[in-house]
C-alpha cells in the first residue's frame, strides 16, 4: 500500500486542515467540530485535553477512520480520508492502534488470544510467529503470568495493559487512546500511561491521547487544548 511508502519519508502521521463535523440532521443538526487544524509528526506523543463534550472523542474517531469525514482535510498516514473508500479506511485501520476508555477486550478470549487478535492482522507471519509475537508483547506489558486468564479474571489495570499489548501487537504507526486511565486509580493510571509512552516511542509510533487527568500531562511532547469544538492556540 501507499501507507508504508509514506511512513518511511517525513510525512506527518496526521495532518488536519479545516476539519468540521456535525451530528444529526435537519433541525437537530449540531456542529461539534469547528474547522480544526493540527499536525502530528511521526514518533510524537500528543495529549489532547478539554472539558467533557467539547468534541475530543469525535475528533479521535475521525482520525481513526471510524467516521466519514464531512468537511475539511484529514490525512492519516498519508491517506486522505475525505472521500476515501470504505475498504481503504478498513486497511488503514490495521495501521492504527486503538485503546479505548473501557478496555474492550473480547470476553471469550484469554489475554494471550486477545493480543493475538491484533497480531493476526500482520501479513506473512506463521501462526507460531504471531503467537510468539503476542507473548512478547504481554511480557513487555508485564503480564507474563496472566497469559491464560480471561478478561473477567484480570484487574482493571491488567486489562488495560492487555489492551495496550493488543494495540501495539499489530505494529501500528499511530496509536489513538481515549481516556485510557479514566477507569483506573491514579497510581495505576500513571503506570499505564508511562508504559504506553515508552513502548510507543520504542516502536517509533506516534500517539494521540485524550485525557482529563492532569497528573499525566508531563508525558507529552506536546499538549493540545480543546474547547467547544475548537483547538485553542498553544500557549507555551
Amino acid at each position: 500500500m501507499k501507507l508504508t511508502n509514506n511512513s518511511q519519508n517525513n510525512f506527518s502521521s496526521v495532518q488536519i486542515d479545516g476539519l468540521s463535523h456535525w451530528f444529526g440532521n435537519g433541525l437537530t443538526r449540531k456542529q461539534v467540530l469547528y474547522s480544526v487544524s493540527m499536525t502530528i509528526n511521526p514518533g510524537e506523543v500528543v495529549l489532547l485535553t478539554g472539558p467533557s463534550g467539547c468534541g475530543k472523542t469525535t475528533l479521535l474517531t475521525l482520525i481513526g477512520a471510524l467516521r466519514r469525514v464531512q468537511k475539511g482535510e484529514l490525512s492519516v498516514l498519508g491517506l486522505q480520508l475525505n472521500g476515501s473508500r470504505r475498504t481503504a479506511r478498513q486497511i488503514l485501520r490495521k495501521n492504527i492502534g486503538m485503546i479505548f476508555q473501557g478496555h474492550n477486550l473480547l470476553r471469550c478470549l484469554t489475554a494471550e488470544q486477545n493480543v493475538q487478535m491484533g497480531a493476526d492482522l500482520l501479513k506473512g507471519l506463521s501462526y507460531r510467529k504471531r503467537r510468539e509475537h503476542s507473548r512478547n508483547w504481554l511480557i513487555e506489558v508485564g503480564l507474563e503470568d496472566q497469559m491464560d486468564k480471561l478478561p473477567h479474571d484480570l484487574s482493571g489495570g491488567q486489562k488495560q495493559r492487555v489492551a495496550i499489548a493488543r494495540a501495539l501487537s499489530a505494529n501500528p504507526k499511530l496509536l489513538l487512546a481515549d481516556e485510557p486511565t479514566s477507569a483506573l486509580d491514579s497510581v495505576t493510571g500513571r503506570e499505564i500511561v508511562s508504559l504506553l509512552k515508552r513502548l510507543a516511542t520504542e516502536q517509533n509510533c506516534s500517539v494521540l491521547m485524550v485525557t482529563h487527568d492532569p497528573r499525566i500531562l508531563d508525558v507529552a511532547d506536546r499538549l493540545l487544548k480543546m474547547e467547544d469544538g475548537r483547538i485553542l492556540p498553544i500557549v507555551e
Binding site: 481513526g64 486497511i91 473480547l106 488470544q113
Partner: protein, 390 residues
C-alpha cells in the same frame, strides 16, 4: 499447502465464542438435535412405510415382471391371460417363468375364529417363486392339495399360527370358507395393503377362489440369463406382446407399488410436513441462539472492526458458528435416530433403518438450517458501528 495454512491460521474465534458459554451451547445443541431427530423420525417413518408396501415385491425371484395394465397396486391386481408367459418363453434370453395368482382371501383365526383378509399367493410348487434358497424345499409340501405356507411375520390378528406350528401341532383353519392345513412357515412381512401373507399352490388357490378364470394370473415372474441386458429384453418383449400386459423390471414393479402409496395417499405429505416442522423449529432455535450471540458480542465485533478486521471476516465468524452448531447438533441426532429406529423396528416390524441417503439429506437440512439462520443473524452485525465504542 501447509505453508499457506500456517499463514492463514487464526484464533478459532467462532469456536471460542460458542464454547465459552456452555449452557447456551447446550441449549443450541439440544434444539438442533431435537429438530434432527424429528426429521429423522418423520422421514424414516415415511420411507419405512413405503418400503413396507413392497416387502413381498422385493422377495420375488424375478428379473422382469408381467402385470396387467389395469392393475393399480397390490390391493387391486387385475388378471391377464397366462398364455402371455408362454409367449415370453420364446425369447432367447428368458430362462424361466412363474405364473402367480395374487388375491385377498378371508383367513379365519384358528383361536378366536374371527376372519381377516390375508394376501394369498398361488403358484406352481415346482417353479421358483422367492429368492430365498430354502423356500423351494418348503414349497414341495404344497404339492398336496389344501396345504398353505403361513407368513410368520403376519400380524397377530391371524392367530398364534407360528407358535402352534412350531410346537408341532397340526394347524388347520378355514380360508375363504374352505379347510386348509398349514404345511410350513415363511417370512415375508406385513405390508401396507396386507396384514399377513400365505402362499399356496395354484391348484389350491383355484379351489379357494373358484371364481378365478382358470387361464388367468395376476403376475408373471420372468427370469433372464445372467448376461442378458434387462432393458433390451424388456423392450423387445413389450414390442412383441399384446397390450393386455405390461412388462416391468423388478425395480419398476417395486416402484410401481411404492408410487401408488406415495401419490394416491396423503402419507407422504403428512410425514414430509412433520419433517418440515422439525426444520422450521430448528431454524427458529438456531436463529435465536446466533442472534443473541451476535447481539451480546456486538461491542466486541465493533472493536474488531475498529482494529481493521473486515466485515466479511466477521460474517465468516458467524457462518462458522453455524457450521459448528450444525455438526455438533447432527452427531447426537444421528445417534438418537439410529437408536429410535431400532426401537421402532422391534416394536412395529416396520422396516425403518438409517439409510445413508437419508442421513445425508438430514445433515444437509441441518446445515442449511444453521447457515440460513446464521445469514439472518449476520445482518445484526451491520449494526455494529466501530465509532460507538469510544
Amino acid at each position: 499447502m501447509k505453508f499457506s495454512f500456517l499463514h492463514s491460521r487464526r484464533i478459532p474465534l467462532a469456536w471460542l465464542l460458542l464454547t465459552r458459554q456452555p449452557l447456551r451451547l447446550l441449549v443450541a445443541i439440544a434444539g438442533i438435535c431435537f429438530a434432527g431427530i424429528l426429521m429423522f423420525m418423520q422421514l424414516g417413518f415415511r420411507d419405512g412405510l413405503f418400503d413396507a408396501s413392497v416387502t413381498v415385491h422385493r422377495l420375488f425371484d424375478a428379473d422382469l415382471v408381467l402385470v396387467s395394465p389395469r392393475s393399480m397396486s397390490s390391493i387391486s391386481m387385475s388378471g391377464f391371460p397366462r398364455r402371455r408367459l408362454v409367449q415370453v418363453m420364446a425369447h432367447k434370453d428368458v430362462i424361466g417363468t412363474t405364473p402367480v395368482n395374487w388375491n385377498f382371501l378371508l383367513w379365519r383365526n384358528p383361536q378366536t375364529l374371527s376372519t381377516r383378509a390375508i394376501l394369498a399367493l398361488g403358484f406352481e410348487p415346482g417353479s421358483p417363486l422367492l429368492t430365498d434358497p430354502k423356500f423351494s424345499e418348503k414349497a414341495q409340501k404344497l404339492k398336496n392339495s389344501g396345504r398353505v405356507l403361513f407368513d410368520d411375520l403376519s400380524r397377530e390378528e391371524f392367530g398364534p399360527v407360528p407358535d402352534w406350528f412350531l410346537e408341532g401341532r397340526t394347524v388347520e383353519t378355514e380360508v375363504a370358507g374352505k379347510r386348509v392345513r398349514v404345511a410350513g412357515l415363511v417370512s415375508l412381512g406385513p405390508s401396507f395393503g396386507a396384514d399377513g401373507n400365505m402362499i399356496t399352490s395354484r391348484e389350491t388357490f383355484l379351489r379357494l377362489l373358484p371364481s378365478t378364470p382358470p387361464g388367468s394370473i395376476e403376475i408373471g415372474l420372468i427370469r433372464l440369463n445372467a448376461q442378458a441386458d434387462h432393458q433390451k429384453v424388456l423392450r423387445s418383449l413389450s414390442a412383441s406382446l399384446p397390450n393386455d400386459v405390461k412388462v416391468l423390471t423388478k425395480e419398476e414393479f417395486i416402484d410401481f407399488e411404492k408410487n401408488y402409496w406415495r401419490t394416491s395417499t396423503s402419507i407422504g405429505f403428512i410425514f414430509t410436513l412433520g419433517a418440515a416442522m422439525g426444520f422450521v423449529v430448528g431454524c427458529v432455535i438456531v436463529y435465536q441462539i446466533l442472534y443473541s450471540d451476535v447481539s451480546d458480542h456486538l461491542a466486541e465485533y465493533a472493536t474488531l472492526m475498529a482494529m481493521g478486521y473486515r466485515l466479511q471476516t466477521l460474517f465468516g465468524v458467524v457462518a462458522r458458528e453455524g457450521i459448528f452448531l450444525a455438526v455438533m447438533g447432527y452427531v447426537p441426532a444421528y445417534l438418537s435416530g439410529q437408536a429410535l429406529y431400532a426401537l421402532v423396528r422391534s416394536s412395529t416390524k416396520l422396516p425403518v433403518s438409517m439409510d445413508p441417503q437419508r442421513a445425508c439429506i438430514v445433515f444437509f437440512l441441518i446445515l442449511f438450517m444453521c447457515m440460513a439462520s446464521a445469514s439472518v443473524a449476520m445482518r445484526r452485525l451491520i449494526d455494529a458501528d466501530p465509532a460507538d465504542i469510544f
